[in-house]
């Protein structure tokens, strides 16, 4: 089910009304709310293909059993068994991901396998959202094993202090519909302390409205409209080769803005929906196209994935504690695996590897430079600094070029794109450029707002207090209603 569908609207309104029904204030209010949210999540997930619920249930039950065992052994001080169960549970999560996401790719790469086997394996469908809920599962297992979520007084409790109860809560954490399919990846230690009875009067309506209007605006007005144009890039490599640079380059910029609007829009909708049900999700995008380095980009783009990779992969690998050379290797490795997390294809491996390479290079350069010019905390340089602008320009174009790997179906198409860019033709058609200007300007204005918030905070606060905000939201709502793109799914659903 999509956030931008009529079915979802009906599910949302029904669930919301029942979630805050008068009896939710009673003794069993929490049980009612969590069970209802779980039922809504299962409906949401299984709407188009109910078979998928089975796999989600396996993940949920497996993780629940492992979590319970780890907590018990942790309380008994049996670290050997804690490690055993942790390894088993992480293996189970990775195995689920491996079978459905990577086996078809691996089978195609092994030369001696019978063709019929390869075909059969390749026909295994990729369950929607599997990359996200397996990461949620791993986060929960590791947080519990590390003691960041423990059992006290018969309840599961986090270090944050609020109580959550039993296996039902584990299922709720894994399956809560706003984040089930494409994140944000909320860590168990962030989510569990929030599990409690929720009251309608505690809903931060202003934040909810702001997140939902901006989220739907980015998705429906910007991303869906740009998608109709950028889809032409995926038609065939021959078309790309014979196209002209004046058609191809605007479409590449268009895709860069589209993928931001699509995913940031989704994340804001998820944050707004979660807030409607009383849960705080971390922000996932912090104006990433303001970045002046790749390092900074990864602190602003898909922040919940970056945080997950840092906490559960980079740091366990040794992080930057084992010397400079190992740090570069770790950075590269984490990004390479992060690339493969998006999909089992060489194009994603290339994307991750190049990001990893740039991160390592920046680390290397920043070690040898004046601290003033180091890449971290460099966003301030963008203001009135030619050097800052140059770095922003380079960063934006590296990121944009690398998005080609996401857009194009294969490496042949990527090569064809570059052949088209350098074929010397001069013709162009109007719609791609028009769309880039008309819809892309919304993303540029959004980032201009981000710049203002970061560098001219008092102006930003002044604007937030003025009637300008509801006026802008009114215009956004008008454009959502009158100028939507053709309805289509979210890009990150395929991961």
């Amino acid at each position: 089910m999509l956030f931008n569908s009529w079915e979802f609207l009906i599910l949302l309104v029904t669930t919301f009304a029942l979630y805050y029904a008068p009896w939710s204030r009673g003794r069993h209010g929490k049980a009612w709310q969590i069970t209802l949210a779980l039922a809504a999540s299962v409906t949401f997930y299984g709407w188009q293909d109910p078979k998928l619920i089975g796999l989600l249930a396996i993940s949920c039950i497996g993780n629940s059993i492992a979590t319970g065992r780890i907590i018990l052994h942790k309380l008994a001080g049996d670290d050997v068994r804690v490690n055993q169960w942790t390894r088993r549970a992480v293996f189970m999560n990775l195995a689920l991901l491996g079978v459905f996401k990577y086996l078809p790719f691996l089978a195609g790469s092994i030369p001696f396998l019978p063709a019929a086997w390869v075909m059969a394996v390749k026909e295994i469908p990729l369950p929607i959202g599997i990359s996200f809920y397996t990461f949620h599962g791993i986060s929960m297992i590791v947080d519990v094993a590390r003691g960041e979520v423990t059992r006290e007084g018969g309840d599961l409790v986090s270090k944050g202090g609020k109580f959550a109860k039993g296996v039902r809560d584990i299922g709720f954490y894994l399956m809560f519909f706003p984040q089930l399919v494409a994140g944000p990846i909320v860590k168990a230690k962030e989510f569990w302390p929030q599990i409690a009875v929720k009251q309608i009067e505690d809903i931060p309506w202003k934040q909810v409205i702001r997140a939902l209007i901006i989220g739907y605006f980015l998705k429906i007005f910007v991303a869906d409209n740009l998608a109709e144009q950028t889809a032409t890039l995926t038609l065939s490599p021959t078309n790309l080769t014979h196209s002209s640079p004046l058609n191809l380059i605007p479409l590449l910029y268009g895709y860069s803005l589209q993928i931001f609007a699509d995913f940031a829009g989704y994340s804001l909708i998820a944050i707004g929906l979660a807030a409607m049900f009383g849960y705080r999700f971390p922000i996932n995008f912090n104006f990433p196209y303001l970045s002046t380095s790749i390092t900074e980009f990864w602190k602003r783009w898909h922040m919940s994935l970056s945080g997950w990779l840092r906490d559960y992969l980079y740091i366990p690998l040794g992080g930057n504690r084992k010397g400079p050379s190992r740090t570069y290797v770790n950075l590269f490795l984490v990004m390479f695996l992060g690339g493969l997390w998006h999909g089992a294809a060489w194009k994603f491996a290339l994307w991750g590897s190049l990001h990893g390479l740039f991160l390592a290079l920046e680390r290397l350069v920043s070690r040898s430079k004046n601290p003033e010019l180091r890449f971290k905390d460099s966003s301030a340089l963008i203001s009135f600094s030619l050097f800052g602008f140059f770095r922003w320009f380079i960063t934006f174009h590296i990121v944009t070029l690398l998005w080609l790997t996401f857009l194009m179906p294969d490496m042949t198409s990527i090569v064809a794109f570059f052949k088209g860019v350098f074929n010397g033709k001069t013709g162009f058609s109007g719609p791609p450029i028009f769309s880039l200007v008309f819809y892309g300007s919304a993303v540029i204005l959004y980032h201009a707002w981000g710049w203002l918030k970061e560098h001219r905070e008092h102006y930003a606060n002044h604007l937030l207090r003025s009637p300008l905000e509801p006026v802008i939201h009114g215009i956004m709502l008008f454009l959502i209603l009158t100028n939507p793109g053709a309805p289509r799914g979210f890009i990150y659903f395929q991961f």
């Binding site: 028009f434 939201h473 008008f478």
Partner: protein, 279 residues
């Protein structure tokens, strides 16, 4: 509370400006940057009021002027990337209204042989499509982007050189006759399409609709005859067959991109069609 009030007032102001803009452009915009919404908008606009002549087809038909461009009673149902069959199916299902005259573009009928329904054909089944037919401000022809794009396109096409003589295209009805069937007969899909479309046209005839299958300019480049199944369709559905592609004298129609007519040529084509219909 002031937030909600300001938001609602802004929304109302935006709809007010859009309504005024819509009136200023004669009731509908001519083209959107999106092929999908251009077609949807054209069809939604065509379905308003009661048309007397409906032209059904692809983007070639889409270039023909309609009632908002000086041809009262004419509704343009051109589907970019599709064919006349998309709109015919929607008429048959009661989604779109009918008209006493149906002009069916033959140039792209072969696209209907692909079994997968077109994006526009699917969209016409959606509730938002019907909503746009009833409420102009949420229709695809009133999209804010379409106002800007139509203006830009008018400047571009207006500047397109179309010095062709201002003469009528010859239009005459010719019997649909298949000189020679292909050796192996018609393909199963072609037979199925003839069966489906002729049934629709015969049902519509019973409701008082006359159908004419027309090959619009440009003609077939090598002068070859049209596909046999299209002529067979005309015969089986008892439709008139007009072949403007062959009948129009060379040089009377100017194309902008090898396929679509420039505005003056499209207007001349429509004038000729209307004369042939006795209007």
């Amino acid at each position: 509370m002031s937030y909600i009030l300001t938001l609602v007032l802004t929304l109302a102001a935006c709809f007010g400006v859009q309504t005024l803009a819509l009136r200023a452009v004669g009731g509908r915009t001519s083209k959107s940057e999106s092929n999908f919404f251009s077609s949807i908008g054209r069809i939604q606009a065509g379905a308003q009021d009661t048309p007397e002549v409906m032209v059904l087809g692809s983007s070639i038909t889409g270039r023909l002027p309609d009632r908002s461009q000086g041809f009262p009673g004419v509704a343009n149902m051109g589907c970019d990337g599709g064919s006349a069959v998309d709109a015919l199916r929607a008429i048959d299902k009661g989604i779109l209204p009918t008209a006493p005259w149906l002009i069916i573009e033959a140039n792209t009928l072969q696209l209907a042989l692909v079994e997968k329904p077109t994006e526009i054909g699917q969209a016409m089944q959606q509730p938002w499509f019907r909503l746009g037919m009833r409420i102009p401000v949420v229709s695809a022809f009133a999209r804010p982007s379409a106002f800007f794009y139509s203006k830009l396109l008018a400047q571009k096409i207006g500047g397109f050189q179309d010095n062709s003589p201002a003469t009528d295209l010859e239009v005459r009805s010719i019997p649909a006759q298949i000189e020679q069937l292909p050796a192996d007969g018609l393909a199963p899909r072609e037979n199925a399409m003839i069966e489906e479309v002729s049934s629709i046209l015969l049902r519509l005839r019973a409701r008082g609709c006359q159908s004419i299958i027309v090959w619009l300019p440009p003609g077939r480049r090598d002068g070859s005859p049209p596909a046999s199944w299209i002529l067979e369709l005309a015969r089986r559905s008892d439709s008139a067959w007009w072949d403007l592609g062959q009948q129009a004298a060379p040089g009377t129609v100017v194309l902008t991109d090898g396929v679509h007519m420039a505005t003056p040529s499209a207007t001349r084509t429509m004038v000729s069609l209307m004369k042939a219909l006795g209007r």
